[in-house]
Amino acid sequence: MEIQERAGERTLLLTFSGEMDHHGVRDTLRRVELAIDAALPKTLTLDFGGVTFMDSSGIALILRAQQRIQLLEGGLVIRNVPQQAKRVLEAAGINRMVTIKN
């Protein structure tokens, strides 16, 4: 699992690619937190366009990012979610808790 970071004026874009399973996410969680702490964004965007597979490990990552951004009183947007990952989010009801854009 790879992450690209792009920080702007109080915004942070994290673009993920690869397989978002427990194996892929293990080190990624910490990197996401560090990136948020460094950028202190008002808007955090997670781009899932390059995610080739996602299971509930991706849900843990989203919930963790959401907690972190709420502490900063910012907002979270998830975009470019592939069909398989979208169905995982729907099965878990996460689509009702976070903003998902195409």
């Binding site: 399973d21 509930s56 490990s57 169905r87 995982v88 099965a91 878990a92």
Partner: protein, 149 residues
């Protein structure tokens, strides 16, 4: 009466997290003979990923144990996948199956069983503390029209 399977494969592998992707790949290859749709194939891979991750993370938290996987097909286009471990077991299976319940800390969402249940037709869990856990999942693969040959 036990029904005879049409085809089956058994494998065992050490509980290393790198084997999560391997287990998904094996199940996808084996299930291909049932001519599933892409979405059925993704459902199966996702459910297997959850079951195998549970075994790796929760059955053998501090050690590398063995994960046993059995995939069988039955008449009527029925696929059955069993993921078994000889790890520490689950004290309260009902509670473990509840959404958002996890003993895995912040790295886990507690949605694994919920996802298995929503992507497969039937999920059965047997467990005994200190002896291990068996998760058995079934899914009917829709018969496609044979006209498109």
């Amino acid at each position: 009466m036990k029904r005879a399977s049409v085809n089956e494969v058994k494998l065992e592998f050490p509980s290393r997290s790198s084997n999560e992707g391997f287990a998904r790949g094996v199940v996808a290859c084996f299930a291909a003979q049932m001519d599933p749709t892409l979405s059925e194939l993704e459902d199966i891979k996702t459910a297997v990923s959850e079951a195998v991750t549970n075994a790796i993370l929760h059955a053998y938290p501090d050690t590398i144990g063995t994960v046993y996987m059995k995939i069988r097909t039955f008449p009527g286009n029925l696929l059955e996948i069993t993921v078994r471990d000889r790890g520490k077991g689950i004290t309260d299976v009902e509670r473990a199956r509840q959404p958002m319940f996890t003993t895995g800390g912040e790295e886990r969402s507690g949605m694994g069983f919920t996802i298995m249940e929503s992507f497969m037709d039937c999920v059965a869990v047997r467990s005994a503390p200190g002896r291990g856990t068996t998760v058995s999942m079934k899914k009917h693969i829709a018969e496609k029209s044979r006209e498109r040959i």
